[in-house]
Symmetry: C2
Subunit: 224 residues, 2 copies
């Protein structure tokens, strides 16, 4: 069983990779370099792919210039100490259609490697309000992806998009990752790291800290 696993270098995708490995998949990790200001993510992804035991790891460069506008890739500041990430409006850190583009490229890569499964660590509970993290989107995408490829024309099984974290709280993700052997020291979540340390105040830091607290696990993150 061969799978493509989207790996950002954060806590969620590291756990997703470890769960895919635990299910017995030969995992080919795929990380996007899209000019994100948190480039440290990419180095984390490389270390995690090795620690968790991915069969291969590809870093794919994607130019989001023509569809930028997200505070993750521009000089606009990221929001800090947002008390309610996940509620209300889509935050400024949203990159237009990011998961759609990422999953499409993962689908092309899956077709090339004849992998039947694509894993993505999206989460519909403790999430940041991005539209492309919702279950409806993932289901619709899997259908489109199957029809877009040889799988849709031949007598082959459809492409399966797996989202093992979809219904987990952040605390459950922390516990599942630890149980599957993830070394969270290697992960980074911060949107705005300073000198290798997490800012502690962006949406991603707030969600991550709460996750460790709620799981009753010591947070290994180095904060600025």
């Amino acid at each position: 069983m061969r799978a493509i696993v989207l790996l950002s270098g954060g806590l969620d995708s590291a756990t997703c990779l470890a769960l895919a490995r635990r299910e017995g998949f030969e995992c080919h990790a795929l990380t996007f370099d899209y000019g994100q200001r948190h480039k440290a993510e990419i180095e984390c992804a490389m270390r995690i792919a090795e620690q968790v035991g991915a069969a291969s790891h590809t870093v794919y460069s994607l130019d989001v210039g023509p569809f930028s506008g997200s505070s993750l890739t521009t000089d606009e500041g990221v929001p800090k100490d947002n008390d309610h990430p996940g509620e209300g409006d889509i935050p400024s850190t949203y990159v237009p259609a990011r998961n759609l583009v990422f999953l499409s490229i993962a689908t092309a890569y899956a077709e090339t490697l004849d992998a039947g499964d694509v894993f993505i660590g999206v989460n519909a509970v403790d999430y940041s309000g991005y539209p492309d993290c919702r279950p409806d989107f993932v289901d619709a995408f899997a259908r489109a992806a199957t029809l877009a490829t040889r799988r849709g024309t031949q007598d082959a099984s459809p492409l399966t998009v797996r989202t093992p974290l979809l219904r987990m709280s952040k605390a459950e993700i922390v516990r599942a990752g630890l149980a599957a052997g993830v070394d969270f020291v290697l992960t980074t979540s911060c949107y705005d790291p300073q000198d290798g340390a997490a800012c502690g105040h962006c949406d991603a830091c707030v969600l991550r800290r709460r996750g460790f607290e709620a799981a009753g696990v010591a947070d290994p993150t180095r904060y600025a």
Copy 2:
């Protein structure tokens, strides 16, 4: 009304752009530079965008290295004098999930420009047997794309993927393009051009030649 129009530089996409213009859309053309051996396409796309009157034209560089394997981007020869393009197996010129990836990036671009429509010149009649040219795929994609973006969460109209050429024969496309003012001299279809001249024998050349013949229109293509 604002639209993104995928523009390859070929006969179909040029006609698609002209039809979108005729419907009154402000057209933002999007061309992919993905290392295709028929690079002349990109220069054609630039000239067509200007001739037909696109509001803007973006050439987007996409690395298909990790999912290559198509004879369009490798040193493998393209098939010649195939008597039955469109029937039987998927040809070697197929780039894995290409339209899925192209449409995903067009969707991100549409969201950035607040365009509600994406035009793509796919055709289910005189086509080359690619899975991602089929109507089922286009419908499934439109649903996934709407759910992937702000349009799926707010009180906005869904993203519309328009395929004005879907049910046309090649001859009908030639006639529609001429009627909408396309100068077909500016277009190129050949997968394997030599010194700026079309080879006359690849699937794309065969379909194009037959189209002009069936339309009863002089073929302006310069063949090697």
